[in-house]
Symmetry: none
Subunit: 187 residues, 4 copies
DNA sequence: TATGAATGAGCCTTCATTCAT
DNA sequence: GATGAATGAAGGCTCATTCAT
């Protein structure tokens, strides 16, 4: 599945050949079919089995946090970054987005199970900040989308155009995003 | 080329069949080959011939603008949005990103001709704001990336997962981004 | 038809494209279809209309000849050589032979109308020589085949491997063939 | 390769479909591609791998022969006939000649490796006969060409027009050729 | 009469999938 | 369980043929 994730993310589903996956995994083509019914099954497994554990873990992380909205938001963003950008999960967003047209159920699954849940967490924190008076009033849904967008975008970039872009610091990127966001939100 | 852009953006290069392109264009398979050498040639044409005019136009738009950094940045972001999100250009970013692994030269072309040039414009405006004291000191490159990221992300989203996401207002999204960004930057 | 003959002889029927024929003839593809029903019709016309006049003319040449069998045979062979090797007819044998598998009726037509008739002429001359005591007894059919074989072979060679063979004199070839043949036949 | 040789010789390269080759070989289309890169590769293999062993064997046959030039020449011609006409090699000359326009390198390879080497053998024998006084002086190159031409021609005929010609004895043909040639050459 | 843009059947080739070993 | 040779459906591309101009 690691081999498949890497290849799917790099070349897309159609352009990835079973022979390539087998070769990268160090097994024979035939052996793939002992563990997966077909190419689509590999794709589904890759997406589902890599995402689900992560989602649960992420939820747990947030569950019973207390403190200022600012520090919570800061924490959340750092947590997301570490969980995604510094693991092989980083390849998933690009993959899902690229194949959303060919695998709409998978796209839907991803949105429902990952995007919306994750966004919900951010919404809660932002609402909490507004309620507390830390943040000025704004639509917390839109704010949540804007809080996450640069992170997701960074993961997509990392697996697509980063090689052709000049090498910029990801740390700067994350930190400046957090600072701009928090100052933007602060009342 | 419109037909091809739509299908490539939806399904990716490999999964798009020449027969589909022909059908969508209302011509026969053979006719495609009167105008393009092969499938790759269509892809390249789609990307290059749709992007280049836009880039030039965009450059012209910015050229001789004066006023406050804030209003300039506001203008720029609105301009980008209109030029991309409200035209068929909106499909290009997702397409390039999805196929970057299979068409690295095209990815490089896009980064050099579009991404970096566009970013440069934003860098200048931000630097101008910093110099004028409107904006607080920060790395203008990173700030430019963060100014654009939510926009590019919105275009990618629009052509991938938007259908599965609840329907949010794009106007709110843009406006809030601009406001958060400007307040974040302001000294 | 000249254009077609040349191309058919060079590349064969299948590998010759209508576009090539049209181009070589200096007309458009569509115009070809004003004069020929289809590709096969061109092929048939090329073969039939180039061969038939020649056959008749050749027959006439022999009709009422008198003299020694040797001089007659010599005459015949020279006549064949001039009529075939020094005109565009030279391409026909290679073409017919190459396409005999795909156009058996044409092959049969050629054998009946050309090969057998031509051979018959040689048979008569050889039989005449045997009867006169100039030539020693032998099977005149086989002898006729052997008299012609090197000539036909030369025409085939000319349109196939000659370019890769060292350049040998065709005149020497013809003269030595005639001399060897006549001394071989002479009693 | 046997299936391919037969079909190529019968229909030519272009007109032979991979499906036909596969069917005749009793395998599937796809399997062909496990053993050959493409159609051309089959063609090249057929020609090269069938010819080379034969050439070496033929050379060996001649190497250390002694005796009269006449009996040697007789031997050579019989040897050639058996090696070519009575094996599937007989299809090669027609094939090479038919495709010489489309595969010039292959034609050149054939001329260099087969035609010229074979001719050289005949040249030596004829020169030997001339030197010994058995044969009268003549150009041994041309004589060699004339010695071989009827044989090659017979192989071409066999795979093209023979079916439409009346059935003549090949033995008579060979024997008469040898006799005419030897009497023609003899001083 | 001449053109050449348009068509679509047909063929080469690829690759997901199967299965005997 | 693991293999890889074999399969054949599918798709890119060519080119003989048509037809509106």
């Amino acid at each position: 599945m690691d081999a498949a994730l890497e290849l799917f993310a790099e070349k897309g589903f159609s352009a990835t050949r079973m022979a390539d996956v087998a070769k990268k995994a160090g097994i024979s083509k035939g052996t793939l079919y002992l563990y997966f019914d077909n190419k689509e099954a590999i794709f589904r497994s890759v997406v589902q089995e890599m995402i689900l554990p992560q989602v649960d873990q992420h939820d747990a992380m947030i569950a019973n946090y207390t403190g200022s909205a600012e520090s919570l938001l800061r924490e959340l963003l750092h947590g997301w970054w570490q969980a995604v950008m510094e693991t092989k999960l980083s390849a998933i967003p690009k993959l899902i987005i690229s194949e959303s047209g060919n695998f709409p159920e998978m796209a839907e699954f991803f949105v429902k199970k990952v995007v919306l849940r994750s966004r919900q967490t951010f919404i809660k924190v932002i609402q909490y900040g507004i309620d507390k008076g830390e943040f000025k009033p704004c639509n917390p849904i839109t704010a949540a989308r804007l809080a996450i967008a640069p992170l997701v975008h960074a993961s997509i970039w990392m697996h697509s155009l980063k090689a052709f872009d000049e090498n910029h610091s990801d740390e700067d990127y994350l930190e400046l995003h957090i600072n701009l966001l928090l100052q933007g939100l602060s009342s």
